[in-house]
């Protein structure tokens, strides 16, 4: 088996981890903290690396758990942060560079995705944007492949229906 090194195999996952963390926390600063904590945790468990089939899935799973912990803590401190009701942090959309490029409709779809329940959001991120197989996603989220499929189905249906509805009103 190939030897895993931090610099070559773990560190380059930072953006992928960041995208997942951002999809869960919906906050850039928070997501960056999550990735940093993930990196430290993965480093501290380096004795286990050789036992792991996919270091990528391992990192993503840790990343998601840390992000969920952070969300839970935030929820305890602030009751208004309930799932589905929290206003998505628009800081990443206020980046002027991106704003210039971004179409309103793409931004709207992004908001639709961000308003989904966490599991559907994570599953959609991993499948549609990171190109992971159902099996890998099941491993990362620690659920069955069947559940992954159900979540993918619900996420896509929800986004599509909300989008078409909004389009009907003439977005």
């Amino acid at each position: 088996m190939k030897k895993v090194t931090f610099r070559n195999d773990v560190l380059p996952l930072k953006n992928e981890l960041f995208r997942l963390a951002l999809r869960i926390t919906l906050n850039r600063a928070e997501a960056e903290d999550v990735v940093q904590e993930t990196m430290m945790k993965v480093w501290n468990r380096r004795e286990q690396w050789h036992e792991i089939d996919s270091i990528e899935a391992f990192c993503l799973a840790i990343c998601r758990n840390i992000a969920l912990d952070k969300m839970k803590k935030a929820e305890n401190q602030n009751q208004s942060l309930e799932e589905g009701h929290d206003a998505p942090d628009s800081s990443y959309a206020s980046n002027p560079e991106e704003q210039a490029v971004q179409k309103d409709r793409v931004r709207f779809v992004r908001q639709l995705i961000d308003s989904l329940p966490e599991k559907q959001r994570s599953v959609m991120q991993l499948r549609d944007f990171e190109g992971k197989s159902y099996k890998e996603i099941a491993q990362i989220l620690d659920i069955s492949e069947e559940q992954v499929k159900v979540n993918i189905f619900r996420a896509r249906q929800a986004v599509k229906q909300k989008y078409i509805k909004a389009e009907g009103y003439g977005l």
Partner: protein
Amino acid sequence: MDYKYIEQLMERYWEGETTLQEESILRNFFSQDGLPEELQQYQPLFDTRLGGEQALGDDFDERIIRMIGDEQQPEVSSSSQARLISISSRLKPLFKAAAIVAIILTLGNAAQAPWNYGWDNPKDEYARFHQQQAADSSALLNPVQAENIGDSALLPKPEATHYIE
């Protein structure tokens, strides 16, 4: 151009039935310009920018490497501390010395035994041994017998010396 295939793929996509390859076909298809009106409306749903951007720069890498470096530092010292902590391994030479001393003492004691008997004439030694044996055997007899044997017990002595000669 016939878009039936794309429409079919989209239907299967909504149902969650498409493979990763088919999904990338859809994404590639929707990334091009000049799509017919009815498909164009779906374009944002397959926009690759939805996934989020590359966000963490090289400064992040540096920070992480630095933190790992900090982590590594105490580890090095802890391994040298571990050597200090194991008192038994530090005292190993002492234990060895103690064991050697113990062996020397034991052997010394064992060697002492023959010296205790001195370097007397072996003949006398043998005679004394026989005398001792006779005394012992007379001790085993009943008191009356022992009394009778008492004097004669000394008799075998010249016999014994004679025998040796």
